[in-house]
Symmetry: C2
Subunit: 657 residues, 2 copies
């Protein structure tokens, strides 16, 4: 028999834990509900499978849900042994779960629960089941997320104001346990910075404990804790770091020592934000945003090469249709989610997953398509949020960046539809839509005089933003002379307003690398991320302005400590270095083939390990010699204008000219 696993209605595990996650934000002593519609898991689900029992055998359907088992013409309760006669049977486990989500587990001689089962939410539509390898014993409970915990201790303790300040040495995410509180109330102020912890009234996170005895605070983000109360010096507590066990499979070092620090801080930041799903930040919002996740997927493919968190995040973001607003209410975020599905399939080749989310992809696409204007443009419908980026953008009328994203969505839908065996006509419809849209975009948004795309043709301002032109490069929307013009006048022109968010900065750096400007990206990583580290960062901040100093760094969104000091989108250097310095990238679906295009750029020496499929590629460079070794087949090394297949487990040596 196969390995038995807990099963649930596909998506319910993610939707349940996403629901819990979305209900955990706190600010200024308030519980802060998620500001978009959040789905709940199914209430009642039927799991079924047809199987043959060669002989009589005993099975127990283990479940924390309520319900019954239909087997061999009888109704039987769950959690009790059932004797099954020999023969062919269709077993049906019918469950409901008001508090959590329906799930069950069978591990018997002739029948186990696993991916081979089907489910339906009593809606007469067969659906796949979901499972996670970690839930494989009857004692498990998929409603409890499998985090790990490790006790951590402060590196320093001092009296500060009229309380005690604990410094844990670096950003962390931990639950505090007070085994026996005597003097209450106790006030705890959490700080990502020292200033925040000590400025209790304006700190984002704090808790006041009013009842004596044992108390456990929910896990929260902090580096500093400030405790205030009677006899506060006598209060003992333990702190438990809560984290997801997930291994780093990528490594990078080079002759610039700062880069190793940056890599480490980026990786640590990324781990802190890799939990049930990819978060934006761990102090705030602690929500799942599709734009942030889109970048996290790219980073995770290199750092972890583990599809689990990406798949969970995609499923959580889709939630349960119908779509009443865009994903996270943002037009661009719906587009990213569809792009993410294809990127993930392209990297992993996981067809089962693609099939499982395909209905939601179609529904979300229909939602997007249903809100276009009469010209076929993405426009701001009531309560849409055309985000693109913070900063100077001309959002009057259809915005060019949204249209380029839509064009890429059409291309992606064509690829997904073709993969899913949709009729040729349907695939063609998507491609035709893309071609028509491209024609229209060039007509309306291309400014021949400026040699770049303008944001809006409605306002009359003919404003050129880097953001829009970055997308034109990133998604290969243009080529030839137009592309060169976009590069010259939409990307490299210093007169254009600078991108100020690390979020969009990553797109810009990717575009720069794509056009061969790796050294620009390398310099920027060293100055921007290096600057942040010099300013004391132990994890990557939501934003960094070198012109600010001291506690000024912590202000954002109108609040003195509003800025997240641990934000996933800041981990981009991992992606940049693996993708464009080591130069490793998938070249076909499932990464069956992949390219290695090493480029030292500014570095005279570097060493990179980049995971690929179930192995890795090692790229080491010591000027002028390059060594490349791949543990898996399918690689092609591109160097000095030539390309050679990479043998398995054999080091290829070359001199970079």
């Amino acid at each position: 028999m196969a390995q038995a696993k807990w099963i649930w209605y596909f998506g319910d595990f993610e939707i349940y834990h996403h629901m819990l996650l979305s209900c955990r934000r706190q600010e200024f002593g308030c519980d802060y509900p998620c500001c978009w519609h959040v789905s709940r898991p199914e209430l009642n689900v039927r799991f079924y499978k047809t199987f043959i029992a060669e002989k009589e055998f005993e099975l127990t359907v283990t479940s924390h849900s309520k319900g019954m088992v239909r087997l061999a013409g009888k109704l039987r309760p769950v959690n009790q042994p059932i004797l099954c006669p020999p023969g062919e049977h269709t077993v049906s486990v019918e469950l409901y779960d008001i508090e959590k989500f329906p799930a069950c587990f069978i591990d018997s001689e002739c029948l186990v629960t696993d991916e081979s089962w089907a489910a339906e939410a009593f809606d007469r539509s067969p659906a796949p089941v979901g499972c996670e390898p970690v839930f494989s014993s009857p004692a498990d409970d998929p409603a409890v997320f499998p985090f790990s915990y490790r006790e951590i201790a402060p590196v320093s303790v001092e009296e500060a104001r009229d309380g005690i300040l604990y410094d844990f040495g670096k950003e962390t995410f931990a639950a505090l346990e007070f085994p026996d509180l005597r003097a209450v109330p106790l006030f705890i102020s959490y700080g990502e910075s020292r200033e925040e912890a000590l400025d209790a009234e304006r700190a984002i996170l704090w808790e006041r404990i009013d009842s004596a005895g044992k108390h456990i605070c929910p896990p929260r983000a902090f580096r500093y804790l400030w405790l205030h109360g009677e006899n506060v010096a006598r209060i003992r507590f333990r702190a438990y770091y809560e984290y997801l066990e997930i291994e780093d499979r990528a490594a990078f070092s080079c002759d610039r020592p700062k880069i190793a620090d940056i890599w480490d801080v980026c990786a640590y930041t990324f781990h802190l934000n890799t939990r049930e799903f990819f978060l934006d930040g761990i102090k705030r919002d602690r929500w799942v945003w599709s734009g942030d996740a889109y970048q996290s997927f790219m980073i995770a493919r290199y750092l972890y090469n583990d599809p689990s968190v990406t798949e969970r995040t995609i499923v959580a973001l889709f939630g349960k249709p119908p779509y009443r607003t865009h994903i996270n209410t943002i037009n661009d975020y719906s587009a990213y989610l569809i792009l993410s599905v294809w990127d993930h399939y392209f990297a992993t080749g996981n067809r089962t997953f693609l099939e499982a989310v395909y209905p939601k992809v179609q529904t979300l696409f229909a939602f997007i398509a249903g809100r276009l204007d009469e010209r076929g443009y993405v426009v701001k419908r009531t309560e849409d949020w055309i985000f693109i980026d913070w900063g100077e953008l001309d959002k009057d009328g259809p915005h060019c960046a949204e249209q380029i994203l839509l064009w890429q969505v059409y291309n992606t839908m064509a690829k997904i539809a073709q993969t899913m065996g949709a009729p040729h006509e349907e695939v063609k419809r998507f491609l035709l839509a893309a071609a028509t849209l491209k024609f229209r975009i060039l007509d309306d948004f291309w400014d021949a005089e400026k040699g770049a795309f303008i944001d809006s043709f409605v306002s009359g301002k003919r404003f050129v933003s880097r953001q829009t032109n970055v997308f034109a490069i990133l998604y290969d929307f243009v080529d030839g002379e137009t592309k060169q013009s976009v590069i010259d006048h939409g990307l490299l022109d210093p007169a254009l307003p600078a991108i100020t968010t690390p979020y969009f900065k990553l797109y810009e750096l990717l575009a720069l690398c794509k056009i061969g400007k790796l050294t620009d990206a390398q310099s920027y990583v060293e100055s921007y991320w290096g600057g942040m580290l010099n300013a004391g960062a132990t994890s990557v901040w939501e934003a960094f302005d070198p012109a600010r100093s001291g506690a000024e760094h912590y202000a954002m969104y109108g609040s003195p400590y509003g800025k997240s000091l641990c934000h996933a989108w800041g981990s981009g250097p991992i992606l940049l270095l693996c993708r464009y310095c080591a130069g490793v990238a998938p070249a076909s679906v499932g990464t069956k083939t992949f390219d290695v295009r090493p480029n030292p750029g500014l570095y005279r020496r570097f060493s990179a390990t980049v995971p690929i499929r179930d192995g890795f590629v090692e790229v080491t460079y010591e000027a002028p010699e390059l060594k490349v070794r791949s543990t898996v087949s399918g690689g092609t090394l591109y160097l000095n204008g030539r390309h050679v297949p990479l043998p398995v487990n054999e080091t290829v040596r070359a001199v970079i000219r």
Copy 2:
């Protein structure tokens, strides 16, 4: 200030309690999940209102949910006093509730929660709030359904087999409380009949209590209880009848004494099934079925004249779109739900309610319309259930009864759309669809030779069922000669197979009354319901076959006690007598006008009180004199081929000729 009430997202109260209700069925010791998709309430909801505070005042947002209050530019926690400055404010209460549903309550000097608030499920679509007058104090909890409880005692106790048998004298629905169980296990077998209680292994409901101490069983249906266990004679318990306080506003008596008993048993049966919603039966299924509810709405309009349970039931049945199957998975049941909405509006004139459910009506209609075949017929799509009725029906291809229902749905959609101010074109589209469909039905299903509608034109059997022809009369699908032919050859021809379910029998009796055959209905009530009472019924059974005797009566669905002995659809005589003997019926929207068409039929004497709007009509007859008094305006008395307006509170006397 107005009366403060708890508010929630419109529908959540019903959807939450419907969810709980749908998870309460038990059979043979199993928890039996609902076999259709059941909606959950919203997770996160924003409640908001713009108001003017003439002065500074204090308010507290009371909530069992978590969340925060946005007021005057600040975030504030719920359940704590907030000082609000004078001026115009938009207050926003943002809540989430993982376990139950978001709801809140404010009762302050300048602001109270009530119907004037708006809500959105963070989907950027404003929705009405829901409230119930009973939840009007901060100590209330809308997640606890406001049932009443009364202790009841058995009328006899006897030793039976090796246990104790308690007889409560009549069908009831009660929770058992064992204050201090010492000897366990204790086995309790519930019986609607004595035979069921004593046949513990085959009884539908039983419980085995394994742990000593206090134990409370969930409320269940029974007349008899059989307790078995060690020292069972010493076990003490209390039984608490759980019920909804709702007043009977109709009364009827006549010279046939059996009718008073039948009325009482019908009313009692109906009360037992009138709970959060109108149930089918209280032992089994205890679910909300749209077909059963459609009849309950008609009965309730006369017995209670209280819209609350009807409105709750309609909202629960709609659930939350999208519709993945028909309501209760049954095609006809989707149709009834749309018809119910209009019937309810016609009777009550409650436009607020119509507006609140209108989006769901439209979505459900679109679901129905999306599944028609190329001829525009309702057909059995995968996993549809073309139910109509148990019994002999020819369901090969499109079934005529479903098409007549669809025709009535088109007519109803036209009326609803017109009332909601939809564009004239839309109203016309519905009417045109009805006309086209009628033409096609007459073409395909009318058998001129048989002079009646056949069930199917596909099978070649040209089978005539009463059911189909009953609908043709009930919904005024035909008139003139065709109607007379339907009556003669589709209704009154004794050679047609008899209707065997009390469910469809009610439609047939209504059709008979409609064509003036009240006496047939009266005779049937006396023989069928009277026969049931003679066979020992203390509440109306799901079905009754006079040819059976003893415990044979209790068998159904292949199980010896599978039949429900307390089924709402059996309360039809209340409707028949009020509607066609007293003859009271609304004549315009909101019952602004109403008709009184008394018809003694078989009775030489009767006295009826029928509620109408906020008053009632009294109709008393003592052959040959009739007296009619209405406490409200708008009535018209039809008698002896003439009609006269009914004065308010004045008795009109006439002699029936």
